[in-house]
Subunit: 197 residues, 4 copies
DNA sequence: CATGAATGAGGATTCATTCAT
DNA sequence: AATGAATGAATCCTCATTCAT
């Protein structure tokens, strides 16, 4: 019956917070903002209704928090893969791999949801508007240009190439979340062919 | 003095029905089932609330009707393009063109929505389960095999190729519906490269 | 194409009116005011929605018209049966017979509905309040007293006797309208025993 | 600080449930299914709109629950009165007493409503069809036959007698719910005369 | 006189959020 | 910190009534 000390409380708080965010990401990324009910998140997280509101002011804030994280994650992922050793082609390949795998996909799906859904709070929209496609293009351009120079990436305007490629990858990530019988994410080689020489 | 004759009534009914369906397709395909409020459809169609229910029993029935139409449309499109004159590659190319253009896209988006959304009525799900990816593969396989024989289509299991390709096309269609600044549908050549020799 | 003359128009009007009233009586008497939809009356009468409103201002007016008729009919029936030749007992018996048969029952059911239902217009209520149980008692009292004198009717306060008896008859009429398997209207002898010596 | 313990929660839930059911019984039994607005039940129970749906899925389920209870109650009442000590006549008399008093009447009115109204869910209808008049007759028959043997109950087919009698009792219960000035439930002696020798 | 398409106010239901414990 | 009962605004849907023809 001894009260928890402050450190323990903070730890509990952080764990709970993460637990809720993780549950919310899973649900939001599949169902979008309006399609997600608080009861789904609550069930997925295995906690009570009221508790979510101890950690987040509203469904809106919960969503915005996730979007922020997704944007940061995407930025980080980009930086990470561009900084890897190896050829440009290999770096891009590994980035693609990450983007469509189980762990990375939810974030890209979330960003898509944020751009599409209607119940999306203004703040989330503002955040996303700061990071448009062009920003991603800017970061990837050196990589693609390097690939064009060494003859592994198809010629042409690299901006166009990247924009189309990212759109395809996001699209595949989004529709790939539904059942196998309906959609099947192509293997990486097939995807890479789109931008290969 | 006399009421409208039967022919006129049928015409009015057909027009209204189409008007409502067209409005509903525009809204559903972008926002999904739960994200779509009847008031949106009503506004888009420029009619009163009650009138929708004169023609469709419920939001659900409206959605199911559209899904049926989308499935039929997709089937027809497939048959149409396979029956066209020209090389296998050309036929596929024209099919892709159709799929990602302004007119075709809403239907594919709708099918995606139907598979994803949660408020989707059982009937729509059953309809969709009848037309799985495999059916489309079956229809397209001869075309792809022909292309592989004449050296225009990439080698490998044609089933895999088609499944991945359709998933990409659907994905692009789905995410391509949002604003230009965020996603940009790649040009056809880029998409075709995925399946080209 | 010759226009109908005035007489024919009047006849059509009267026939239509009666047709609508008859249909409305059948529906109202079974389902009450709120339970009756205009579409039911329209279907039962085999006419169009709009036509009802040529003859009656509203569902309300239609119901009030029927209630008026039912009250008048009940009054008339009472007068008619009291004026018949024969013993008091026989007159009462024939009145009961009439009340529970196919033709008479709807009117009594309607009066019950009018007193019970909630959507009943004020005017109908006022009409009914003018003809309370006491009025019926007043009319029947001489008959019952005569029966008590000649030893065919049970002794006791005739007012009480009549009130209870009419309540039973109305009740039987009301519940008797539902399916045979659930309720079975007793034969007249059984009912008469309630008030017999 | 600590949330309510399970026992307290169960108690609150049971109380609320009963409170809602009691309020709903009062309203439904008078007004039928379509005539009852959720707002009436809500007001009668003194709770908010949403809370009803915390305990019952729909107006329909609420009604079905009550019908189930009414059927069970009627069955129990029958068993109870047949098992009482005393003469057959006395048992029947007490059953009648119970049936038409303030407490019992709403249930019989509810059963009538369930058989009559139109918005009645299929499940309620099925429940009622399982308990037809014949079942009640079966249970009461021994009692009536005993009464016929000891000379207190009128001769004749006991099935007919019971069917007619129950119909009268239900009818009286139903119409007796409206205001005194219009209908007056007869005293028990008068009702018993119908089946007395 | 007659039709049925069209309207919109009102009622059923859902779900984000609050609050007593 | 944690619970889940309770609230009410927003949404879907029904149906009496109107109106162009």
């Amino acid at each position: 019956m001894a009260p928890l000390n402050e450190e323990q409380l903070i730890q509990i708080r952080d764990e709970r917070r993460e637990q809720i965010l993780a549950a919310a990401l899973r649900v939001f990324s599949r169902r979008g903002v309006v399609g997600t009910k608080m009861s789904m998140i609550v069930k997925e997280a295995g906690i009570s209704h009221g508790l979510v509101y101890h950690y987040f002011k509203s469904k809106e804030e919960l969503f915005v928090t996730l979007v922020k994280g997704a944007i940061d994650g995407a930025q980080e992922a980009l930086s990470f893969f561009t900084s890897l050793p190896g050829t440009a082609y290999d770096k891009i390949r590994r980035f693609v791999e990450e983007m469509i795998d189980e762990k990375g996909a939810p974030y890209f799906r979330l960003i898509y949801q944020a751009r599409t859904s209607d119940g999306v709070p203004e703040e989330a929209k503002r955040l996303l508007d700061q990071y448009t496609l062009d920003d991603y293009i800017e970061v990837l351009k050196p990589l693609f240009e390097e690939g064009q120079r060494d003859g592994t990436i198809a010629p042409g305007d690299p901006g166009e190439l990247i924009a189309g490629f990212l759109t395809v990858l996001t699209g595949v990530t989004v529709v790939g979340s539904v059942d196998e019988r309906q959609f099947r994410i192509p293997n990486i080689e097939m995807l890479m062919k789109m931008i290969s020489k």
